[in-house]
Symmetry: C2
Subunit: 335 residues, 2 copies
């Protein structure tokens, strides 16, 4: 058993983007597992926009991370020691180890990976929460149908690229919005999007969407919020649905953007709907089976953006908000 | 047959509220009906917020009224002459006579009133489009359930008071937002609302809603838009639904209000949905049968705000936007 656990605790609450200045590194003894617990070694830690919400004063629907607490995070880990049934040394698992090299957790908070569905990288990527989020967004909230036009914001991000590819497999016309030529090229050349819009170079985003979606939008899957949401609503078709999935442009904003085009919803019989993937926990298996099958045929992939080293987690969180990641951002803590 | 038809035509497009200065009165010969047509005498003309939209440059989902055209309007009329099967002299009908004393219309645009359901006043009121709108908003869009909290804006207006009363009959807790003490007293004393909020005297509307709806809002039926919509969204419960039915605060506004609280939709699994009552035309009979039965038991009524004289129609349209009506605004053109 290792004896030193490196960990990062919340030092102060950010205003604006989060970064290294808001976290402090500590080294503490590793706690041996008690009955019903296991000791995990963190391998891959997921970096998600929601984490910025968890460290804000009023996070809303999840408890906040307190000052001095280890930063909360999902990740893939390996069992180093087990005093729990069903978990054996060497098992690969998913859990919420947080930002630390070792975590001692109760077995009920640890899920053994089904490696017949995919590798550890697949489990933090397309089989993880971002893939499952994309699946339920299209299936249950947007209810997209073949032939419909699906617009996705944050399209090169973790959820966005999964939404786009699933919609494409479902025979939709798929348009992505992303920042920069590299991300846009990725979308059309590697992620099966029909078209991409670079919001950084478009002076009139609503007009750009209208050009890319000449018949209007049936589904807008929004990960960004703010002005992009407003521009998309202006282009809704009759019966159009907007999934309010994320709002990375607003999460750390000084002042919230005011959406002006909601009146469009009347004549267009439009709908905006928010959702939280945790509500679908009982059906994760359905989503993972569908995604795993498409990974195996090569129809579906999720690009991972991997950076190395526990100490780079705070930097990773900042990267997300500055749009510096292409794909699902992951920090490799151990091999 | 009368020979002089007084009518009001659109003279100029308003910026801001509409009023007498935007319409011109003309007297033209009455046109005799041809085969398949009937000549109608206007009795009661409906004054609706949507009419301001019809005279704007870009009305959206309905054709605009052109300069020099008779102002479009729904109303109740009497058949003076008929060359159409199924319409007899003296029949009471509903149609779109427009702002004129006599209209010659094809029979397919004329619907004979079923007086077993209610009187001419009932047909322009609770059995008319505003009552039917309220019914489908709750039944099909909001899908309100017994015990839920239903908040209604523009609650003393035509649609709002119907929504509130129907929700009360359906065993919901009903709170209305209206402007001024008289309207608020009307809501709680005569229209069966549990509570009323006077938006004109509340400095913090979100806090006032929170006090009146301590468990949050399950359904918000919005006729107003703007800051009231924002304040209501901030008070949604998990699974809350917002019906975007009207937006009278925005229809004639110089600058559109920006709604900042849409992020709430994620954690609250909330939904905003717009609708157009005309989509439900095939089911108007269902709504009218339900409403007529409750009118007869005395459980449901719609207060009409009647003003007299064709020439007062433009003034009536302005009254709606200044909030000077209490109930469904109607102009009596002839007895």
């Amino acid at each position: 058993m290792p004896n030193a656990n490196r960990r990062l605790v919340l030092k102060s609450r950010p205003t604006g983007f989060a970064g290294p200045q808001h976290f402090a590194e500590e080294t503490v003894p590793v706690r041996a597992p008690e009955d019903g617990e296991a000791l995990l070694e963190s391998l891959l830690i997921s970096v998600d926009p929601a984490m910025r919400v968890w460290i804000s004063e009023n996070p809303g629907y999840v408890p906040r991370v307190e000052i001095g607490e280890v930063m909360r995070a999902f990740g893939i880990a390996r069992v180093l020691e087990s005093r729990a049934d069903g978990l054996a040394v060497g098992d690969l698992v998913q859990a919420r180890p947080g930002w630390q090299s070792y975590a001692t957790l109760p077995a009920k908070e640890i899920e053994k990976l089904d490696l017949s569905l995919g590798s550890a990288e697949d489990w933090i990527g397309p089989l993880g929460l971002t893939g499952v989020t994309a699946y339920f967004s299209l299936r249950d909230i947007a209810r997209s149908r073949p032939g419909e036009t699906v617009l996705v914001s944050g399209a090169a991000g973790a959820v966005g690229q999964m939404v786009g590819q699933i919609a494409r497999i479902d025979a939709c016309r798929v348009v992505g919005i992303a920042g920069g030529a590299e991300k846009c090229a990725y979308l059309t050349e590697q992620a099966s999007f029909h078209a991409a819009i670079d919001y950084k170079t478009e002076t009139n985003l609503a007009a750009a969407i209208a050009r890319a979606c000449p018949d209007g939008i049936d589904v807008f899957h929004d990960n960004v919020g703010g002005a992009i949401l407003d521009a998309a609503i202006a282009n809704l078709r009759v019966g159009g649905r907007v999934v309010v999935c994320g709002r990375i442009s607003q999460t750390a904003a000084d002042e919230l953007y005011g959406v002006r085009n909601l009146g469009t919803l009347i004549g267009k019989r439009g709908r905006l709907e928010g959702f939280v993937v945790f509500d679908y926990e009982a059906r994760y298996g359905e989503a993972r089976a569908w995604i795993a099958a498409r990974i195996k045929t090569g129809e579906l992939r999720q690009k991972l953006h991997v950076i190395d080293g526990l100490e780079r987690l705070p930097e990773g969180l900042g990267m997300l908000f500055r749009g510096e990641n292409l794909g699902k951002l992951v920090v490799r803590v151990s091999q």
